[in-house]
Structures are given as C-alpha cells and as structure tokens.
Subunit: 277 residues, 2 copies
Amino acid sequence: MLTSDVSETTGHRASEGNGMSQIQRPGALYRQVAAAIRDAIATGEYPPGTLLPSETQLIERYGVSRPTVRNAVAALRTEGLIDVVHGKGSYVRGAPTPALTIERTVSHDNGGTFTLDGGAGWQQPEKPHAYRTTTTMATGPLLGLEEGEALFGVDRLLIDPTTGTRALHQTLIPFATAEGTELADHPDTEPAAIYALFTEAGHTLHWTETVRARMPLPDERTTLHLHDATPLLETTRVTHGSGDQPLILETLRTSADRTQLTYRIAPEQPRNLSAIR
Amino acid sequence: MLTSDVSETTGHRASEGNGMSQIQRPGALYRQVAAAIRDAIATGEYPPGTLLPSETQLIERYGVSRPTVRNAVAALRTEGLIDVVHGKGSYVRGAPTPALTIERTVSHDNGGTFTLDGGAGWQQPEKPHAYRTTTTMATGPLLGLEEGEALFGVDRLLIDPTTGTRALHQTLIPFATAEGTELADHPDTEPAAIYALFTEAGHTLHWTETVRARMPLPDERTTLHLHDATPLLETTRVTHGSGDQPLILETLRTSADRTQLTYRIAPEQPRNLSAIR
DNA sequence: ACTCATCACTCGTCAGTACGAGTGACGTCA
DNA sequence: TGACGTCACTCGTACTGACGAGTGATGAGT
C-alpha cells in the first residue's frame, strides 16, 4: 500500500534556464516505492548489511508490477544506497567509511626527508607500463606546454595491502624535463626517486594539487573494483621546480568510497592576520 | 546490426571474495548497444552538445526493442556521458570542465590577511538557517568530542554569481568553543568573522581539510541543481586553535562537475630533503 | 499581426510475460 | 562420508503493448 495522498508539488520555483532540469516528480509510482524503501533504510528498518525484500516480495507488498519495482531498486542503486548481487538480493550499503586516508601533510623527519601520499604503503602488483604520448588540451596547460608536445607516460596500478584499496597512478614527463637526466632512459623511475633527482640537482620543489571527482569510465570501474554508483577521486599533482616551471604531472585515481584526502593548512608565519573567506 | 561475434569471456579471474563483484558481461544486448553508442561518442561521431538519435531511431538502427534501447541509454546516463531531456532527446555531455576552482593556497597580502576559499565570491541568496544539534558518530571524533555533545549548527546556501555554481555550507560549533564569545548569541556569524574572532583572542589557527566524494542524496541533488550521475565534492574543514584543540567544523558540498579544489604544497623550510613518496 | 489550439515528435511510466543465469541448500547416490 | 545433481530462490535480460507528459512547429483563428 502506497501513500495514497501524494501532495502534488505544483508550484516549484521557476527554473533559471539552466538547461539541465530533471525535477523530482514524486507522482511516479516507482519513485514512491523507492522513497518508501529509502525511508525504511533511513529509519533503520533495514540496517546496513541487511538483505532487502526480494523483488517478488516488493511486488506483493506494494502491489505493483516487476518493472516498477526494478525501476525503484535501480533508483536506489544509482544513489549508492544498496548493492544488488545477482543470485542473492539487494544489500543495504553501509555509510561509506573511507578506509584509506591519503594525507598530504608536508612534514619533516630527522633525515630531512618528508612524505607526501602519507601512510599508504602502496604496492605495485604489476610492472609499470611506460609509453609515449603527447600533451592534450587538458594536460598541456598544466605543464605550461602547447598541445601535442611529446611526453613520457607511465601507468601504475597501486594496491594498499592493508585495505586492498586500488589506485591508478599516471606520470607524465615532458621531454624537456627528462632531457639530460636519467629519466630519458628510465621514465618509469618512482616518483619519489624523481623528486630526489631534482632536489639533488639543486631544485626547490613545490607542488600544486587539484582534486576532482567524476563517475568512472567502464574500464576504470573494473580495474579499480568500484562498486555501483561510486565516484572516482582524481588528484592531479604538478611538481614545480625552482622558478615555478612545471616539471612533471601525476594523476592519482582512487575509489571515492574508500579514500579521502587530507590536507593540513597553516599560515607560514603566524603573524597578524585578520580576515578569511 | 550488432557485433554478431560476441567473444564470451568465460574464464574470468575468480573474485577475491570482496562481496561486491558486478563484472562486465558484454553478452547482454543492451550493453552492446550502449558500447556502440559510447564508441560513437568517443569517436567523435556525436560531438558534445549533439542530439543522439531518438529511441525510435535506435530501435530501428540496432533492431532491438524499446526496453533494450532505454536500458542502454540508462547505462550511458549513469556513466554521465549523456543528458536526457524529456520532450527533446539525449544530448552528449561535454567534458566536465570545472568552472569553479576553489583554491586553498594560504597566501598573505599586504594587510596581513589571507584567503581560503580563494576567488569564489560566494553570495547567500537565503538567510542562514541556525539550529542546534548534537555530535554524531562522524562529527564527534573530528571535534574531539563524545557522541551526543551539544552543537550550534548553521546551514547556508552559497551561490557563485559568475558561474551560478551552488554550494551547501554547514558550520558546527561546539558549545564549549562558543562559550564566553559572541558566538553563543550569534552562531550564524560568518566563518571569516569567526576566524578573526579567535585570532584576536590570541589563537594561532590552522586547518585540517579532508576531501571526499559521494553520490548526492535526492534533496542535495535538487538544492544543488546537480546533473545526472554527478558526484558531490564534500570538503570538511576543522579549525584548530592554539594547542591543537578543534574549535569549529565546516562542511562544504559542491557539484563535482563544476568544482575543483586546488592545494598548494610546499615544504616550510626548503633545506635538505631527499625522499618523497 | 498576433494568439492559441493542434499535432507530431520526444522521453517517462506501467503493465504483463517469458526465459536465462547465479546461488545455495537439500537430498540422492556412490 | 563424500561428490554431485536437482531445485527453489534470487536478479538479469528481452519482448510486447499502452498511455501519459513535455516540447516545438505548424497553422487556423481572431
């Protein structure tokens, strides 16, 4: 039995011509079913890990057809509320507690070394894949190059052994920065070693990281073992040398429901400061 | 006509008992249709902004039924590749170019002030909503409190006037930090002013930001005007005072396809450093 | 010239039916 | 006791048919 009294939200504020729309019309039957299940989950009637009623049971319970039930379940699935497993049923997904925290605190230890990618002791189950590419519309500007410049590329699959979290790491090295270094012959050098290389060459490095999120492509879904309705956290790190010129570009892609990034922000000289926004 | 030769991937590597699964079986008809359209988009046959063939046309072209076509389209939709508009058709979505870059560079200007939330001149179209809550399982540890401690809460809807990007901002202030300050009477003070308040009280502030991404809840979808298959970027910022004790907790939720966060990382004293990972 | 009803097109929703495919338990058989 | 086939349950896929609802152009009417 559904909520027979569906309050028709007629007077929705006029859309400001965004061209995107997709308003929530609760009138649809499957939306009512979805809302009912969603509420039941939120209420605690179905705690995380619980098996939801089967499709046939939902059909009987709400008196609707199977397409309607499946539509409702599909909605909850794209919201990331449930995990549907073929021969078994629909499991309520727990709160997406990130198992892996990637800390980006710049901290010194006794030897003068410091760490990025804090904590996570990545392992590489496969050999890194080295190749050659050119800058694209997206990567060019970040490296301060035109579109179509030659690059070394290295792809790695990283796995955090304690949590099993997977990550995709890409390193892009312009020919200009590899020139004259051992990178020209060994572009698949570990990022840590690359940094050391440049600091020993007299560079003072700093980094610019931009964090974005998006839905994964099908192949990213499979290689990263992503659940349904799980976004991708994409971190792009540009390493700058002395004089601010970009040296290399790294991209780290991880599962958003297993990973979070932490940054520690502090003013360099804590002197008189007044307004922040 | 579809690719009649479907290579059956029978011997898939045994799942490592993750309990999640969902393997890509290309055998399904609608997957083949989806793949065909996806390739056509990738090839450039349907550039961004283009209208895809209508359902009826796709039915004829691939010789399948309408549910199959709709299933294929739904797949592309959850991948974020297309935007489907009711009476019009399916538009190819362009590359998700973030219009808004929130910079988290800690930079000083002449007056000794510095900015977080760089650039974005947020506006508040509505009055902030102040209320009272208690710490939850998620918020408690961040503030160094037990679960169930009393909090002031303030919710704001922010809009970036130049791009129209929306954001949801939440401020949580423990009673302990509000005590003795004007925050007890005016918890809806602007974060900037709150920071100033504590610095003038002699605190040296620093911040810890953690970035996560997840799919939006239905109400977040509507209030943030989110497209289909668009994740939410959730930034949680804890303000620490002198002595590292957490003072307030802020959460900023924005559309992931219109927003990116940029952090600038530099070692404090650029002396001898060797290894990074 | 302007207004507005109509129509053809689009996607959205819902029903019913059928069969394939994965999972796990149960029971038979060696 | 152990191996294995069967069966009942789950969701996945695909088809048919029908109607509702949003959009835009066309054309009749004023």
